[in-house]
């Protein structure tokens, strides 16, 4: 078990990290979040399910993948977003991991 090295104001470290990760990535899915956050995918899925029940995140199917974002309909979305960005400022490792993630398009057939 890791020593707790950051605050978890959203109820648990996985919940908080998932929210911060979603804020940085805008949208993501459990496996990607698991890789970026270095949290087991089962813990990410549990966190997402709880956050969805709390209406903090929203998920929708894209193909066969459930893609999550911060819930745009949440009444305090702008404030939540600003707070999560502030938390992200305190997590240089997470910011570095998300910065390494390639999101821009890659032409079909172009070698990786």
């Amino acid at each position: 078990m890791l020593v707790k090295n950051m605050s978890s104001p959203f109820g648990g470290l996985a919940r908080t990290r998932v929210l911060v990760g979603l804020r940085l990535l805008e949208s993501s899915f459990p496996r990607e979040l698991s890789r970026v956050l270095a949290v087991p995918v089962s813990a990410v899925s549990r966190a997402l399910a709880g956050l969805e029940r709390d209406a903090l995140v929203a998920g929708r199917l894209v193909g066969r993948t459930r893609v999550y974002t911060l819930n745009p309909g949440y009444f305090a979305r702008p404030e939540l977003s600003a707070y999560l960005l502030r938390l992200a400022e305190a997590d240089a490792e997470l910011r570095a991991r998300t910065a390494q993630l390639r999101r821009r398009p890659r032409r079909t057939g172009k070698p990786l």
């Binding site: 709390d54 209406a55 745009p72 309909g73 009444f75 979305r77």
Partner: protein, 179 residues
């Protein structure tokens, strides 16, 4: 009101809201079931969403709904004879960033329940259109505006405050087209 397989969604939703009121539970009908109420059932959702106001014990909610025949299964309440289920999404009652929601009283077959007003039901669906680009939600907002008198100026002001004035104008064009 006795619920049965032939009960419509508006009948079920209002009967549930009225039952909760009788048990001292304040719950406001929102979402697609609200649209169904305001369009005389022309839109049918699979569920009725209620946002509870204040603190309510789970046992009290279970007991109140059990009297109508609803049983809690996971996050929802189901009825052996009724095809619609009930959900209680977390509050607060809000539309976009607007928390100043004043519920309306809606009556069906002698039952009276709290629901979003027609104007707020319209805004509720528009919020889904704004946030998710969901065209069905736009059409539902248009349907409410066609069936009911809604405060278009209030909707315009709110849309502007949400940063979606262009989307409001599209909604208005659709309403006028369907007049």
């Amino acid at each position: 009101m006795k619920l049965s397989a032939t009960s419509t969604l508006p009948e079920v939703a209002i009967a549930v809201g009225a039952q909760l009121r009788r048990h001292g539970i304040t719950a406001v009908l929102t979402g697609g079931a609200c649209v169904s109420v305001y369009t005389d059932g022309s839109y049918v959702s699979k569920d009725a969403d209620f946002v509870i106001q204040g603190r309510v014990r789970q046992d009290d909610l279970d007991d109140a709904l059990a009297e109508l025949g609803f049983v809690r299964t996971g996050d929802r309440y189901v009825h052996s004879d009724v095809e619609f289920y009930l959900e209680f999404p977390p509050g607060p009652l809000a539309i976009g960033s607007d928390l100043a929601i004043r519920p309306a009283e809606v009556a069906i077959a002698g039952d009276v329940a709290l629901a979003l007003s027609a104007t707020d039901s319209c805004r509720d669906r528009l919020a889904a259109f704004f946030h998710w680009r969901d065209r069905q939600s736009l059409q539902l907002a248009v349907a409410v505006a066609r069936h009911q008198t809604v405060d278009l100026e209030a909707i315009r002001k709110w849309s502007r405050s949400e940063g979606n004035l262009d989307d409001y104008n599209e909604f208005l064009r659709e309403v006028r087209r369907s007049d």
